[in-house]
């Protein structure tokens, strides 16, 4: 119970900082919309019908997500706040989960803005399986955030973080991109039901990396 309360405190601290300063969410949302616009200008209208939605949205989510991970960890690096956090009697695993939750809240707010914009600009028709779309994307995002949170803590002390973090996370997240886009292709183009075997790959990704990150996090966090 104490751990849950600690996680709640840590995450709400991050969200409170973000709500007062609004330095990350504005940046991330604008970046996401910009990516969508650039892709929209570059693609033929015929290429942007429903099933290419995942590809376009993934690009926006991936880059926006990396920015979220960097910023939530940069808050701790600022003024040596991390040293204070590490001195506090809190399990490192709790710190990881709390960071993950604040990253997820940021990413979901990004998705809530960017997805309708993309639907509007590209005439995506998601009505056929809106529930499946939300489910697949949410599960994918949890896995993406699990990996991203881990690596943002690993490298945040080096100076070249920007490109480096994206380099680390993107190849690891490729199974998520492949699986979610294939599943959505089948649903939207092939009119198939959502198969559990496909979904189980996404769930396995989430579980494996949540557990692995939780175990490794203890060893890597240093001021």
């Amino acid at each position: 119970m104490l751990m849950l309360r600690q996680i709640y405190w840590l995450a709400s601290k991050d969200i409170l900082i973000e709500a007062r300063s609004r330095q990350t969410i504005g940046l991330v949302v604008v970046l996401g919309v910009l990516i969508i616009v650039v892709l929209g200008l570059g693609l033929e209208p015929s290429q942007t019908s429903g099933f290419s939605a995942t590809a376009i949205l993934w690009v926006a989510y991936l880059f926006g997500g990396v920015l979220c991970f960097e910023k939530t960890m940069a808050v701790e690096r600022h003024d040596e706040a991390l040293a204070g956090l590490l001195l506090a009697p809190i399990d490192r695993g709790a710190i990881y989960i709390a960071k993950l939750i604040s990253n997820l809240i940021l990413m979901f707010s990004l998705a809530i803005v960017v997805t309708p914009v993309a639907v509007l600009l590209f005439h995506f028709d998601l009505s056929a399986a809106l529930g499946a779309f939300v489910l697949i994307m949410s599960i994918s995002m949890v896995g993406f955030a699990a990996v991203g949170t881990l690596f943002s803590a690993t490298i945040s002390s080096s100076r070249l973080q920007g490109g480096l973090l994206a380099m680390l996370i993107f190849p690891i997240s490729l199974p998520l991109v492949i699986t979610s886009s294939q599943l959505l292709l089948r649903i939207f183009r092939g009119n198939q039901e959502l198969s559990f075997s496909g979904l189980s790959i996404l769930i396995a990704f989430d579980v494996i990396f949540l557990v692995a990150s939780w175990l490794v996090f203890e060893l890597i966090l240093e001021p």
């Binding site: 690596f151 480096l164 190849p171 492949i178 790959i201 692995a212």
Partner: protein, 242 residues
């Protein structure tokens, strides 16, 4: 500091001579002991099908290299000894080298095969196996690319250890996710004749020996390089405890 000249010991010379001998023997087996072509009415494996006997052992060795990167990463996180990082770096390099050869041989093999009198593949198709090898290769290319961009040796070892572990855990996930991709044609499963089976088994020997040899030399080089660097910048020697 006096430079120590690295002279190959007799054991190493013998090792490489044996490896080379096994390679030459393998080429003879390929030439005389395996069927020249595999042909069914609709499938023609093409002249390049003999690449398969080299392709598969190298692919298996790539997985072994990936595993070694992950294991060395775990060992580093537990013991915090930079020697493990030197080893992981060497294994990462061989993983990229072998993975690259797997990709190349796979593409050549696929291009030369014929299915219903037309090329089975163009050079590249997004089929499960090709995508899997490409993603696997990219994972370890990134591993090599991130190393130079982190300056502190301990920090670099830490990031790379975590990445090595996560990347290895990623391999089965990549495998299963690429299985969702549509597979165009699957060549008909053919029972392997004993000649084919033994040639394939034989080829594991020279390729694994080559792999181990390269790994060993690379590891020694990394270790010496770090020792040289540490003696030049004594202040870099931070305590092993994080």
């Amino acid at each position: 500091m006096a430079q120590k000249k690295r002279i190959p010991t007799p054991a190493i010379i013998v090792y490489w001579v044996v490896t080379l001998g096994l390679f030459v023997g393998g080429l003879f087996l390929l030439a005389y002991y395996t069927p020249a072509n595999l042909r069914t009415p609709e499938y023609d494996a093409g002249a390049a099908q003999k690449i398969f006997y080299i392709h598969l052992p190298i692919a298996i060795n790539t997985f072994v290299a990936a595993l070694l990167v992950g294991v060395a990463g775990v060992a580093y996180l537990i013991g915090r000894r930079l020697v493990w990082d030197d080893f992981a770096y060497a294994a990462g390099k061989t993983a990229v080298l072998l993975g690259g050869i797997v990709l190349l041989t796979g593409v050549i093999w696929g291009r030369s095969a014929w299915w219903n009198a037309r090329p089975w593949f163009v050079w590249w198709e997004w089929t499960p196996r090709l995508t899997f090898s490409l993603v696997l290769w990219l994972l370890y290319v990134v591993y090599l690319m991130i190393r130079p961009s982190i300056e502190s040796a301990n920090r670099r070892a830490l990031v790379c250890a975590v990445y090595g572990i996560i990347a290895f855990l990623d391999v089965p996930l990549v495998y299963f996710s690429t299985k969702l991709l549509p597979d165009l044609h699957v060549p008909p499963g053919q029972a392997m004749s004993s000649g084919m089976k033994w040639t394939l088994l034989y080829w594991f020997a020279p390729i694994t020996m080559m792999h181990v040899g390269i790994l060993y030399h690379r590891f020694c080089l990394n270790r010496d390089e770090r020792a040289l660097y540490e003696s030049a910048y004594d202040n870099e020697q931070t305590p092993a405890v994080a």
